[in-house]
Amino acid sequence: MAKIKSPEGLEKFRQELVAGLDPDMPSISVCTGSSCLAFGAGEVLAAFKAEVAKQGLEANVTTKAAGCPGFCERGPVVVIYPEEICYLQVRPEDVAEIVSTTIKEKKVVERLLYTDPSTGEVAIHEYDIPFYKNQKRLVINNNIKIDPRSIDDYIAVGGYSALQKVIEGMTQEEVIEEIDKSKLRGRSGSGFPVGFKWESCHKSSGGDPKYIICNCHEGDPGAFADRRLLEATPHTVLEGMIIGCYAIGSPMGYIFVGDEFPQTVENARQAIRQAEEYGFLGKNILGSGFDLTIEVYIDGGGYVLGESTALMASMEGRIGEPRTKYDHGTDRGLWAKPTVLNNLQSWANVPFIINNGAEAFRAIGTEESTGTRVFSLKGKVNNTGMVEVPMGMTFRELIYDVGGGIRGGRKFKALEAGGPMGGFIPESLLDTKIDYEEMDQVDLAMGPGLLVIDEDTCIVDMVKFFLTFLANESCGKCTPCREGLKQMLWIFDKITTGRGEVGDLELLEEIAAVQQEAALCALGQGAAGPLLTSLKHFREEFDAHIMEKRCPAGVCKELSQNKIYSQAR
């Protein structure tokens, strides 16, 4: 493939691609996200290819290894175009029937369709399934239509048109202004205005070159939204980064991602290679005179590397420990040069804003929290997976409309947002909106993970889990974080094994206060989040453990055994 040398050339190429596609031709999209692959999507895809060949349909049917549409709970997911029939939990033995019935006879295979567990209603199309119907998908809407490993697929659905628009006639300042007007805020959870950050770096006198980093570290236990997004639509992220680099004036960008997600790394690397081949990266991008290199940086693992100073230290080859900083990263970041570090989701939103304008983006969400947010919804809900919902939606809507309610008809107990540094909310606060300010008021963090907890989960045990996680993942540098977590775990060990005493909770609160005030980085400062919010909303459960030596959820083993012994006597 020869390099595309101008925005017009790109438009021409796209039109040729689209003209070459027959919209009525049957196409089988098999989700090949990590989760579906684990469910056996690889075998399903191979079976489809073999079956299509066997029935002599190769010329009339395309089979596609598509990106993750999010419904991981019911994988492997298969969508048949052009009708958009969505089959769930497809196994290789279902394949022959699907090809003969759906592709040849144009009939649906009912048993593979989505059935609403509460109403019994059957949904044929993807857009009929409540899980999808109640989402607002700006970033992940094309995932299942395209192969994440194919740049042509991405271009055919309108990909790189934002880059085209920027190169065609937007100045650096205009791009920044558009992002600024969209009120796009940092998706890491901080909520820092992205446009402002870009502008500070663009105007910085901190020297050249300037760098940009896409943070796809995502170390929260059980969170998978960022890495899945990069895996499923790497070109969206790349396009956002290229536009960002253009606006800021940076010749070098990095995608900071963990080695523990091999599929993600592979897809990102392949996307970079393809973008280079097509001339969207490298020298003189689309004839604009702008040069850019983007690399994947494999991080060394460790939760704390998600913290900006630790992240940059590790990229520079130093120990990944946070440090106290007095300069903004946009003045003195990576290798002491001006650097924009944005979360992966922040970058992924950029193409939509450029394509549709800041107004269209701001029309979604609330006044100060605009656009959508991609979460990994997990825990005791019926529909777990990657979801994209508009800001301003309430958590109740998210859990019951998108998530399909609590699994097994159990009772909802708490929602945990923001991972190990986030917090819990009880049922009474479920009408809180997904909004930076509103979530802050109830001590929740806008992290990528949402964990739903039902009545069978012990809150004390849950907090202990998070504290254990942080105790292992803390870098161990500063006293309040390292020693505080050690002592907290000791106290939790006492409480969960029936040795809790009066005063333990007060001691925990005292350690928590010192951590919040005196810890070196955000990890230590936020470490007490789950503890403090659970003490606020579920204190009686702690009291039951300490005073009555009883675990109401029946999770803490030592306390449950006590009960059995006493009954035996």
């Binding site: 440090r323 006293t479 309040p480 020693e483 070196l520």
Partner: protein, 201 residues
């Protein structure tokens, strides 16, 4: 070098540009406790005991005096109620490791810290990193390093390096604020593992 005017504990201080709050305070005889700080070593900000309150742009925030650069019209308070409370708890957390350390005891008396407040920990080390950083930055040997992360982090001598370098040095022992024997103990542990085995002799 320009002069920076700031206030520390209601005292007007003229400091040199580039100084830290700690240095400015010391220059006028205001005592701020430190444990991991050392003039010869790079700023580390790990023990957090030197926390002070800094008023900047109308907001009061906490910062470590050893790292905080002096700024014009800065207002620093080194002994507020909040600071005293933080230092007390931090000391208590460290006393769980080294209840008999002279340095810690002196501070404990000053801040009313209870050495038996928290569960006793098995190692004397409070992770100030003085030995580790001194060996790396001044001696440039890195014979003693941190291993592990999080709560399981500890100091350890690298046997191959320590067996060559440490016999005639041991300068790090004196830096230890808790118990010099701690380093000696860890060192001997490392050296035993580097001794030739019988088979090799």
């Amino acid at each position: 070098m320009g002069v920076v005017n700031l206030t520390i504990d209601d005292l007007e201080v003229k400091a040199e540009e580039g100084m830290t709050v700690l240095e400015a305070a010391q220059s006028v005889g205001i005592d701020i406790p430190t444990l991991c700080h050392h003039d010869k070593l790079q700023t580390y900000t790990a023990c957090r005991i030197c926390m002070v309150e800094v008023e900047a742009r109308g907001r009061i925030k906490l910062d470590t005096a050893c790292s905080s650069p002096v700024r014009e019209n800065m207002v620093v308070k080194t002994r507020t109620e909040r600071i005293m409370r933080i230092r007390k708890t931090l000391l208590e957390l460290m006393l769980a490791h080294a209840p008999d350390s002279r340095d810690l005891q002196d501070y404990a008396n000053e801040y009313g810290a209870d050495r038996k407040r928290f569960e006793k920990m098995s190692s004397f080390c409070i992770h100030c990193g003085l030995c580790v950083r001194y060996c790396a930055e001044v001696k440039k040997k890195s014979a003693v390093v941190f291993v592990g992360s999080g709560v399981s982090r500890e100091i350890s001598f690298v046997p191959e390096v320590a067996s060559k370098e440490c016999w005639n040095c041991k300068e790090c022992f004196e830096l230890c604020p808790t118990e010099a024997l701690q380093a000696a103990y860890v060192l001997s542990g490392a050296l035993i593992t580097s001794l030739p085995t019988l088979a090799e002799v």
